[in-house]
Amino acid sequence: MFRIFLQFWISLILISVSQVALAQFRVEVSGVGLTQLPISIVAFRGQAVSGPKIADVIQADLERSGQFRAVNGAVGALDEVSLPNMSALRQAGSDALVSGSVSVLADGRFDVRFRLWDVVKGQDLGGQSYAVAANDLRLSAHRIADYVYERLTGEKGAFSTRIAYVTKAGQRYALWVADADGENAQSALASPEPIISPAWSPDGNQLAYVSFESRKPVVYVHNVDTGKRRLIANFKGSNSAPAWSPDGKTLAVTLSRDGGSQLFLLNTSGGEPRRLIQSNSIDTEPVFSPDGRSIYFVSDRGGSPQVYKVSASGQGIERITFTGTYNISPAISPDGRWLAYISRVGGAFKLHLMELDSGNVRALAETTADESPSFAPNGKLLVYATQQQGREALMTTTLDGKVKARLNGQTGDVREPDWGPFSKN
């Protein structure tokens, strides 16, 4: 018992120390009953020459996941070939160790290597090496975090995935593609007019989004590698809320071309839109279930906006949310088990999570202007937009709401996140 307390206080001290050193990686832990694996990530030998500090990126990834707690192992300098002092690590309360090195190759790229140790058993859990260009050093760190996460939790890591988001700075809008921690952002689109609702294609190559560049909302599909854009919905009236089917062949969209905001399906290869359902109410924000058989959407057909579900052929409309008078922006977890959405509670807009089978709901955030939740492809984290100190910012949270992190990498207002899929093999 004493040792647990000691570890707790040591880790508190270490967390505050590391927060000074890593101000950009603020991880906020709340609540009790967290089971986190204590892990030591030693500075990679040679990482000072490489720009991003590999060990810091790995540590921030693992801490943001909520599954890990960083512990200073106090074992001195190590790399992937060192035999660590296991008893010192155990004394420090560490259950696992990551060590490695970064060196410059003859062609100017970097050689990043690491090894993962099970400190409790004193066992080598393997490692990898990557040859990367300087601008892919962070990616190699995310790959290492994925390896560690999968080895130690049995679940696939999602650190080396990408997120899209939108920034507004003055009257300039930009659509960005960034690492899953929000860093390393690359501009996909810059525009003097608003951009909203980016949505990754299932293959991770394209973004559908709504652009107001022609002084009305129209839907584009944009290949992020080439910058080639296709105008996919530009009908009379407003065109918005694109959502990909899991096979990538269909986009659900909201069109007002026949009056009102109504749901339609479009072939991504082109052709006439097909009406999904017809109503006299607002029907919008469609999102496919992971099996592609149903579409969740928002409708005010009952007098207030609520989340509903309909089959992908437009049959059998079923109401999903019942508590409150304003429930919007549904997102479904990749396993189909969870519905994340925004609910207005006493004038505040808050991220909520419903277990679809039981209908049980929990509020995940204390902030008051939450928007646009999106699940990580492994279903273990959510990214969402909110307001902090008067600025729009992106946060991640675990599904129990206990571990949150603010994503940095951009100044100004950051909004409209969408978490991309696992990279394809």
Partner: protein
């Protein structure tokens, strides 16, 4: 160009066996090899797997702007109450004079642009703004404006007229603008 490039197996360290932590021997990495150097980390003679991120080609749409024509001396803006798309009686004369003007210029295209205040989600506000635009469009067509001349669209909460966060600002933002093209 396909994005993440990383081949596996080439560079795996030898994993120790017998661990009690859950192991999954499916590699985390993918296998779309592009440049792979075959060196093994065990020998320490060179680099292992190549990791390379996907490219993002930037597109810049340039600056915006553009002049706005209208009827001299007449307001182009109809304001709405909170959570409402009902046109208030005081705006009937504004809409009537625009209807006369539009009918008098058969070649003129007109955009009816709905807006909301900043509270709530972007897409749902887009739908609410569409209702405000459709309400004005309906009033114009009742007065004889041809549907082929007018288009109702929504900007949701994306283009506030006032940047404040109090009720006075919100009231200025809940609006439909009649825009001559």
């Amino acid at each position: 160009m396909k994005s993440w490039i990383l081949s596996v197996g080439v560079a795996l360290f030898l994993a120790a066996c017998g661990s009690t932590v859950p192991l999954n021997d499916v590699p985390v990495a993918d296998a779309t090899p592009k440049i792979v150097s075959g060196a093994d980390t065990q020998t320490g003679t060179g680099a292992g797997t190549v990791v390379q991120s996907g490219g993002v080609a930037p597109v810049d749409l340039g600056g915006g702007g553009g002049a706005q024509a209208s009827i001299p001396g007449e307001s182009r803006i109809i304001y709405f109450d909170y959570d409402s798309y009902v046109i208030k009686p005081e705006y009937q004369s504004v809409i009537a004079s625009h209807a006369r003007f539009i009918k008098g210029q058969a070649s003129r295209k007109v955009a009816i642009e709905g807006h909301t205040d900043e509270r709530g989600g972007r897409e749902y506000n887009l739908a609410l703004g569409q209702r405000r635009a459709d309400a004005v469009l309906g009033a114009l067509t009742i007065l004889g404006v041809s549907a082929s001349q007018v288009e109702s669209v929504s900007f949701g909460k994306e283009k506030p007229a006032s940047l404040g966060t109090d009720e006075a600002a919100f009231a200025k933002n809940r609006r439909t603008e009649i825009r001559y093209q």
